[in-house]
């Protein structure tokens, strides 16, 4: 892998609240390289967004570091920090709230360019804005430039948000549930556009979603990291994590997906296996492996003592005491996967 643009090491974020300390993210190590996709998946409250916000420099982590091109962002000079802010752009979840309703598309797209004196004349900035709209498949650009956000549909607005972040020629785009508010067909076309940007402009992605199908579709050639209560529990190449999940939590998530096939749908009953349906509170985390109260593989004494380390197992990084022990016993043969999948990536070390 080429040098990562963005590297999170031991990232921790503890929020001080009236109800006590909330450890939203508890030690996350992840990397995003140029033209690579890293997808963070998990349920609400697992720390995906907190991780993304820290990675974008929007919050200061309470522990660990965020390094941009090998340099810790906390120790940057003002000029370096400005460069970091330019190179790492954030696309929000809600395309309706993320655009200023009183600005035209043209004005929104070129605000950054004008601020940073990247354009010198009105004509040039209009040309640049039109070029950005073409990049995100809003054509012909002339019919969008003078529109206000309320005149656009959700999908079109999200494309304007993407175009705005591209104005700064970013190296990493952080997308926080950027497609979850869009209709299915619109979602596919936006993901296809983002995929093209990744290939053509070599932009790296930190892509956050709760939707495993979206993660699989967008990060097929990249990696998926599954988060649970502030920690990464499984991280590896997408075809392996989705096609042959090893962590019981990942398995439960994949088993819970509704597939658009009446025959297949009736065959899935994975949540039955979970011992507890509800997610524990961050202010009162279970001891040991935080998944143990819900885990179908739970073994007293083994799982409730300490949190399992995220270690290389089955060609990925995995945090599970039971799988790690069984790996030692059977010499590397994993628990058989519940579903078939194209696991083409043969070896991968964490």
């Amino acid at each position: 892998m080429s040098d990562p643009i963005l590297k999170l090491s031991g990232l921790e974020q503890v929020f001080d609240t009236k109800r006590g300390k909330v450890p939203a993210v508890g030690g996350v190590d992840l990397e995003v390289g140029p033209g690579k996709v890293l997808c963070l998946v998990g349920e609400s409250g697992c720390g995906k967004t907190t991780t993304a916000r820290a990675a974008a420099g929007l919050t200061r982590p309470t522990g660990g570091t965020v390094a941009f091109r090998g340099k810790d962002t906390a120790a940057m000079s003002a000029a370096e920090r400005q460069e970091f802010r330019r190179a790492v752009q954030y696309i929000h979840q809600d395309p309706y709230a993320a655009l200023n309703p009183t600005r035209t598309v043209y004005s929104t797209l070129t605000a950054g360019l004008r601020r940073h004196r990247k354009v010198s004349s009105k004509a040039e900035s209009r040309d640049k804005a039109a070029e950005l709209l073409r990049l995100v498949d809003l054509t012909p650009p002339e019919s969008y430039l003078d529109s206000y956000p309320h005149q656009l549909s959700g999908g079109q607005r999200q494309r304007v948000n993407v175009a705005r972040s591209l104005a700064m020629t970013p190296e990493v785009l952080i997308c926080d549930e950027s497609t979850s508010m869009l209709d299915v067909s619109i979602r596919v076309s936006l993901l296809n556009t983002l995929g093209r940007l990744r290939d053509e402009l070599d932009v790296g992605f930190l892509f956050i979603t709760h939707d495993l199908a979206v993660a699989k579709y967008f990060a097929w050639e990249g990696e998926i990291a599954v988060m649970y209560l502030g920690k990464v529990v499984e991280h590896g190449p997408t075809p392996q994590v989705i096609g042959d999940p090893q962590h019981p939590y990942t398995k439960a998530l994949i088993g819970a997906v509704c597939e658009p096939d009446p025959d297949l749908a009736r065959a899935n009953r994975a949540v039955d296996e979970l011992r507890e349906a509800d997610i524990p509170s961050l202010t009162d985390l279970p001891s040991g492996c935080t998944f143990h109260p819900r885990c179908p593989l739970y073994e007293p004494g083994l799982c409730d003592g300490r949190f399992p380390p995220l270690q290389p197992l089955h060609g990925r990084r995995l945090a599970c005491h039971v799988v790690a022990r069984d790996q030692g016993r059977t010499g590397g043969r994993g628990v058989p996967a519940r579903r078939d999948g194209g696991g083409q990536v043969a070896s991968w070390s964490g």
Binding site: I186, A256, E259, L264, D278
Partner: protein, 354 residues
């Protein structure tokens, strides 16, 4: 049972947009729903599915109005009633007793300053006739209902909505909807905005409740996976019209309207390989500027000059009993199909050797 529980004919619903202006949100909907069936209304945002769902119970907001058609229900006592001519008082008795609704957004459907038990009390006292609901009777009935959705009454009843998780609220809301044992339950996006594992739990409980109480279900969703999971029948809506209807098998295995096929083709599968997906080009039309002819023609790969002339009516493709008839409103339905092969039912694996 031969006669349908709900019979909709040529329903049209419009919203007032100005003093003399209206937009038609739903038009020409015909529907026969039989006892115990579950029907999914699917389509993109703005296709009229929620409007139709609200219309089925005459719960439209003030600006909305059913402008024509009929809406006949078979009541519990075996008589029939047209909802559109029903007076205010019979309508109040009808709602919740005969048909109930689970509204969209479990997060916001409860009154934030009332305890869960008070919601049950209000509903039972308001809609159940000829019975006095004492505090104890309410608590007993509410407790029983919450247990059917596997919630702990002691924990949930005295709680305020904000003290419950999203999944708990959604389950409490379903329990509330079935409080008076309605024959028809309309659910608007029952799993949207819930976490994956919670969604799965709701789906399972809806299966169980249907088996136990035998109610008829109409649910509105944009999630085709959910439709495949819960529905016996599917109706696809586009621009206010039903453009395809049939059994879940017919629709998912062999859609015959290009819009339905487009929706199914756009769903990202989790199982198996990663196919390249195609989206439906363009965006749904505005209700104010509906294209002539088949409303889908500007986005349709099969469209010909003929499609732009007249609205296309549903054409029966396969007769089936109990409203399961497969029909599509497309002149070119014989050319429409899925981009990916269907999976075989036994193994749950793709039939092609991937």
């Amino acid at each position: 049972m031969t006669d349908p529980i709900l019979s909709v004919r040529d329903l049209e619903i419009a919203y007032r947009t100005g003093r003399k202006e209206k937009v038609t949100a739903v038009s020409g909907v015909d529907l026969d729903l039989y006892q115990g069936q579950s029907l999914a209304l699917v389509g993109e945002s703005g296709c009229g599915k929620t409007t139709l769902g609200l219309g089925l119970l005459r719960l439209l907001p003030k600006l909305g109005e059913i402008t024509s058609g009929s809406l006949r229900y078979r009541l519990k006592d075996g008589t029939h009633a047209d909802l559109l001519t029903m007076g205010k008082e019979p309508l109040r008795r009808f709602r919740w007793n005969e048909a109930a609704m689970v509204f969209q957004g479990a997060m916001n459907a409860f009154n934030p300053v009332a305890r869960i038990v008070d919601h049950f009390a209000d509903t039972l006292r308001d809609h159940a006739d000829g019975k006095r609901w004492t505090k104890r009777a309410v608590e007993a009935r509410a407790g029983e209902l919450l247990e059917t959705v596997r919630l702990d009454p002691d924990r949930v009843l005295p709680s305020f909505p904000h003290e419950l998780s999203g999944g708990m609220k959604q389950r409490a809301l379903i329990a509330l909807a079935i409080a008076l044992d309605p024959q028809v339950l309309v659910l608007d996006e029952p799993t949207t905005a819930l976490d994956l594992l919670t969604q799965r739990q709701i789906v399972q409980q809806l299966h169980e409740l249907r088996q136990r109480f035998g109610f008829t279900m109409v649910f509105i969703t944009h999630d085709l996976g959910l439709a495949a999971e819960l529905a016996d029948r599917v109706a696809t809506m586009y621009a206010g019209r039903v453009v395809e209807t049939g059994s879940a098998r017919d629709i998912f295995k062999g859609p015959k309207h290009p819009y339905t096929a487009g929706l199914i083709n756009a769903v990202m599968p989790v199982a198996g390989d990663r196919p390249a997906l195609e989206s439906i080009p363009g965006y749904p039309p505005s209700l104010k500027a509906m294209p002539g002819g088949c409303a889908f023609h500007p986005r349709c790969a099969f469209a010909t000059a003929e499609c732009k002339l007249d609205p296309v009516a549903l054409d029966v493709l396969a007769e089936r009993p109990q409203g399961m008839t497969h029909a599509a409103a497309c002149l070119h339905h014989e050319r429409v199909g899925l981009a990916r092969p269907a999976r075989s039912p036994e193994s749950g694996k793709e039939t092609s050797d991937v």
